[in-house]
Symmetry: C2
C-alpha cells in the first residue's frame, strides 16, 4: 500500500522502530510486543500500534510481533532492503570520522566517494577512499546515478554544493552544515546540527 499521505512524523519513527528491532535480533530475541518496544523507546504502545497499522497487519492480538518479520517489512517500507550508494562531500575532521564509521552498511548505506575542494586533501586517503576533487562532483555523481549525499562542508559552502548535488540528480541530502538549505520540493533534506538538538533540551532545564 504505502499511501503517500502518511505523515512524515510517522515515517520518522519507523527507523527508530527498525533500529530497536534489529537490536533485539542481535540479542537473539524472536518475538516482541508494542508494550515492550514502547518501554524501550519511550513511546506509547498505542502510538506504535497506530503507526504500524498504517502499513498493514504485522502482529496478532495477544501474541505480539515476530521481530524478524516486522524488521524485514520495515526495511522494505523504508527502502533499505537494498544498499544505497552515498556520496560524501567534505573530508574534514567530521567527514573523515563518518567515513571511518562502520555502521552504515548494515543499515542500508554505503559511502562510495568522498570529495573535498582543498588541494591538500584531494588525492589523500581516508579509510579506503581517495579524496576526489569537488570540482568534478557534479559530473561524477550524475554519471554514477548517486541519489543520496552527506554534506559535511563548512556552512558557507553548503548551499552552493547542495545546488550542484541537486543538479547531479541527488534526491536525499543529509546536511551536517549548520545552515538551512534551499532545494526543490522533490529533494529531501535532513539536518544534523548538534547545537539545535542541545537547545531543544536546554529549553526544559533551569
Amino acid at each position: 500500500m504505502q499511501a503517500k499521505s502518511i505523515p512524515d512524523i510517522v515515517i520518522g519513527r519507523l527507523p527508530i522502530y527498525l533500529r530497536a528491532l534489529q537490536h533485539m535480533l542481535r540479542e537473539g530475541r524472536q518475538v516482541t510486543s508494542s508494550q515492550e518496544l514502547g518501554e524501550r523507546l519511550g513511546i506509547s504502545a498505542a502510538q506504535i500500534r497506530k503507526d504500524l497499522s498504517q502499513f498493514g497487519e504485522f502482529g496478532k492480538q495477544g501474541t505480539g510481533y515476530t521481530i524478524k518479520f516486522l524488521a524485514d517489512r520495515l526495511q522494505e517500507i523504508l527502502h533499505v532492503d537494498r544498499v544505497w550508494r552515498v556520496a560524501m562531500i567534505g573530508a574534514g575532521d567530521l567527514g573523515r570520522a563518518l567515513a571511518h564509521y562502520g555502521g552504515f552498511a548494515e543499515r542500508g548505506f554505503q559511502i562510495e566517494m568522498i570529495y573535498d575542494s582543498d588541494p591538500e586533501k584531494i588525492g589523500t586517503k581516508v579509510g579506503n577512499f581517495v579524496v576526489r576533487d569537488s570540482a568534478n562532483l557534479l559530473a561524477e555523481i550524475k554519471a554514477e546515478s548517486i541519489q543520496v549525499a552527506m554534506l559535511v562542508v563548512p556552512a558557507a559552502f553548503a548551499q552552493p554544493v547542495a545546488e550542484q548535488l541537486v543538479e547531479a540528480g541527488v534526491k536525499a541530502i543529509l546536511n551536517y552544515a549548520p545552515v538551512n538549505l534551499s532545494v526543490p520540493a522533490d529533494v529531501h533534506v535532513q539536518h544534523i546540527d548538534p547545537s539545535t538538538h542541545l537547545q531543544r533540551m536546554t529549553y526544559y532545564l533551569e
Copy 2:
C-alpha cells in the same frame, strides 16, 4: 510565560528559527517576516506565526520582526542566553571531530571535559583538552554540577555510561550512539544517528 504545555514539536522548531535569524544577523539584516523565514526554512509562514505566538508578541502586523529582538527572545526561551558547560564522553574519531568544532560556544555550549575508557587515549590531548579517565566521570561531573553531556561512545557502552551520567546529575544527553537509552523521565535525550535520518529520506525515494 513559557507554559509547560507547549508541544515539544514546537520547541524543536525554535532552534531552527534562531539559527536562521542569527544567520540573517551575520548578513547584516535587521528586519524579517514570517514569510521570508518560512521560505528560507520550508515551513509555512502561518506555522511560524503560530509557533511564536505561544511565547508572546514579537512582531507587528505589516512591519514584521526585528531580527535582533526576536533572536534574543528565542535565546532566552531556549535558555541559551547563557553558556552551558558540556561533558563529552568518548574520544574516538567522532568525539575528537566534535571537540575540534568551533561552533558550539556562540550557540550556548562549551565543552569542558572529555572522557574515554581507553588507556591509550587517557592523558592524550584533543584540542585544548586532556582526555580524562571515564572511571572518574561520575564523581567529577557531579562535583562540577554539569547538566549537559554528549555521548559519543560505541553502542555497547551507551546505556551504562548514560546511567552514570544520570547519577552524576546530568539532565540532557545528546546521544550519538545508535541505540535508544533508558533514562528517568526528568532526563532529556536527543539522538543523532545518521542512518535513521537517511532512512527517513529513502522512504520517499524509488
